[in-house]
């Protein structure tokens, strides 16, 4: 059951694992931003977590303790951010950017001497008998515990933010810190805890890169995934399930394009005029449904567009050209953001809004 050398079952199983670092980091950042804090240091916290997790796992021989170590390292770095922004009221954007640079530098320094070491392996959680089942086996039962943990965290955070008291308070603080303060909530303390949580999640995501995905220590190992996590949070409208969709989409297309690169894939040129014809047909159908009129200019446009598309389709029918690697490499970023933008478009007001106090520091004046 392969398509152009790609097995869809293995693809799905791989994308679930490859999305874990971004999913964990983005879920943490969702909570942070819901509390009204913009921490741009996700990349820094991830890479510190990657190093912290790697060092602890190598030292103790336990991958589980490695993930704990990654979370602690990420949280520790985020507390620097918390101290600067919540206590000293430093600018959040500048502090977050500095945190990323700091994290990258420190990890590069601290990672000296860990190159070329193999960390202890994180094995699958469930017995092999289950993972060997056809189709559902690799997709549902073949993963290590962190994959299940990341999915569980999505559900838990969704419920916490939507229905629990703690979530309500976090949203309230992010919505209007003045009002929350007037009602007696400790705005900066709540935010501090959210920042630490976000740091721990980012750190754990980073540890997954160095302990399970790669798995070894390389300088700059997180490779910009923290930035993608940040973008996903925004385009997912600060909602955990959409964050998961975004992370899986990104992970999936990353895996897919790597496979395509390996397979030396070809691009079907005839697909372009076909898509153009479909778009034209879709437009006409929508107009018919909505009962809209056709202006003369539009009719002329339809005519020429159809003629041209048919001509191109005839010329290019069955033609394939080698796919440029650059396009493949950028496709995860492009497609993820495109899909999330379409998902978040068309909805206005509160349903889609950013937390109103996002990025603003709070200081109780009187």
């Amino acid at each position: 059951m392969d398509f152009g050398g790609i097995n869809p079952i293995i693809l799905i199983a791989t994308l679930m694992a490859s999305a874990v670092p971004i999913l964990l980091a983005a879920l943490g950042e969702t909570v942070v931003e819901r509390s009204g804090v913009l921490n741009l240091g996700v990349e820094g916290m991830m890479i510190i977590g990657a190093l912290g997790g790697f060092v602890v796992a190598v030292a103790t021989g336990s991958p589980f303790l490695g993930f704990v170590g990654g979370a602690v390292a990420g949280a520790a770095l985020s507390l620097i951010f918390a101290l600067l922004t919540q206590v000293f009221l430093a600018n959040q954007v500048a502090t977050g950017l500095a945190l990323t640079l700091f994290g990258l530098g420190v990890s590069s320094l601290g990672g000296q001497g860990y190159n070329g070491i193999k960390p202890p392996r994180t094995g699958p959680l469930l017995p092999d008998a289950l993972a060997d089942l056809p189709v559902v086996g690799p997709i549902l039962f073949g993963h290590d515990w962190v994959v299940y943990f990341s999915i569980a965290m999505t559900a838990v955070l969704w419920w916490v933010l939507k229905a629990s008291r703690v979530g309500l308070i976090i949203r309230a603080v992010g919505e209007s810190h003045e009002a929350a303060h007037a009602l007696g909530y400790k705005v900066n303390r709540i935010r501090l805890m959210c920042i630490a949580f976000g740091g721990a999640m980012a750190g754990m995501g980073g540890a997954y890169v160095s302990l399970a995905r790669v798995p070894q220590w390389v300088d700059g190992i997180t490779n910009g995934q923290g930035w993608i996590a940040l973008a996903i949070v925004v385009f997912a409208s600060w909602r955990p399930w959409r964050v998961m969709i975004g992370a899986y989409l990104f992970g999936g297309i990353t895996v897919l394009q790597l496979n395509l690169q390996a397979a030396g894939s070809q691009f079907p040129v005839w697909l372009l005029p076909t898509l153009a014809l479909l778009a034209l047909a879709g437009d006409i159908i929508l107009r018919e449904i909505n009962g809209k009129n056709y202006s003369d200019l539009r009719k002329v446009f339809y005519f020429f567009a159809t003629v041209n598309a048919l001509q191109l389709l005839y010329l290019s029918w069955g033609k394939w050209i080698p796919m440029p690697v650059d396009y493949l490499s950028m496709s995860p970023y492009l497609i993820t953001i495109l899909v999330l933008v379409i998902m978040s478009a068309g909805r206005r007001g509160t349903a889609n809004g950013a937390p109103a106090s996002l990025g603003q520091n709070f200081h109780a004046s009187r």
Partner: protein, 517 residues
Amino acid sequence: MTGTETHGGGVRPELLRIEGITKAYPGVVANSDVSFAIGEGEIHALLGENGAGKSTMVKMIYGLIRPDSGQMTLRGAAYQPGKPAEARRLGVAMVFQHFSLFEALNVAENVALGMENPPQMRELSARIRAVSEEYGLPLDPSRMVGDLSAGERQRVEIIRCLLQDPKLLIMDEPTSVLTPQEVEILFKTLRQLSSEGTAILYISHKLEEIRSLCDAATILRRGKVVATCTPRERTAREMAELMVGATLKTPERRVAEKGEVALGVSDLSAASPIPFGTSLKGISFTVAKGEVLGIAGVAGNGQDELLLALSGELKAAPDKVRVASHAVGDLGPVERRKAGLVAAPEDRYGHAAAPDMSLVENAFLTAGVRKGLVRNGFVDWAETRRFAEEIIAAYDVRTPGPDVAARALSGGNLQKFLMGRELMQGASVIVINQPTWGVDAAAAASIRQSILDRAGEGAAVVVISQDLDELLEVSDSFAVLNEGRLTKPRPTEGLTMDQIGLMMGGAHGMEVAHHVG
């Protein structure tokens, strides 16, 4: 047990006693040796100008800040709430003037945030419905607060308090955002609460309201208690003079000849650029030279949008807005200033002024064009500074100097500066939103006087305000903004409060719900 005297001469058991409370901030003493007592079920007014220390006082009662010295006793026991949660547990609840609702959360969530141990959301919603019907304050628990009118938002706050069976309900300027009819309904609710034994500490500077509602009043001036009285036995003027500590001057109107039309707006519609804002729908009016048009309306009915549309921040088709005979509808603020139209928005920190820039710089920002403060592309700082100093002198702005950041001035002082900045540019059309918001009585009187003076000199003035007394005092004609529509302007003379209330759309959806009793 000691008690306070009721209006009827009987003695109420004492609920809360404040003794010798002092609270100082660096540079100011907010409260100095304040003492008073509130009986069970008493409606007690706390009166005073801005900065007299009313807010600080109630924040101490509500546990938001701690007094430096003095004691409070609640039902005979020492009362020192360290945080609002503690105050709420002991039966003290507060309805805030601003800043306590979350627009992107729904009514039930907002209520839950103000409670100690809220029940499940479904049960809470049922209780919100029950209580809101009992007190005639209809509310849908699932609606987003951002979509509610100001009066409805206040109901959310009141219900949030009532769900906790408070013994003392603190209300900070509750009527400033309500139509006269909504005020009546609120007062009915408050009287009902009072008769059930809930004491109410009522902060306001609307003296007629206090006369009709309150059993007792404590008057603060500069942090000290200067008088206590029974409001029904005093006139509003007497109480006002106790608050200010001086006799008040009523602004005088110099009657000017009505000239030709200076500002004409015809069928202006615009979508609101503000989240949760109100779109303008078919606004038409004209203002003649020397005329003051007062525009009333409950907050959030399009006032901000109207100001944006007039100032030029919100553009329209050219002929929708005319200054004299120039069509300026498609021009931005700078071009409109050149054409003679200046505007002063409501929000002082961030809209009317750049808070972190000095007064000199802020003076330049809007007056640069009309006062010719730019020479060969450079700012003429000497001239700008002279203009800023002129404003400071003419409007009695209390500041160490013109180089102080706008943020450092108190709200009232900054407002005086900003009003002066617009009024002293010699414009032919002046648009002001909330000219005296947060300004004390004496300064408010002087701002109103200078508005009338400008009109006397032939300027056309549009005053948008939520203070009806102010509008009746300064305006020649009167119109109301209601859900983005403007009523036809009518001469102010002879208008009654009832008529104005009806123009304002009555009480939003409340007549039916409130049992007539």
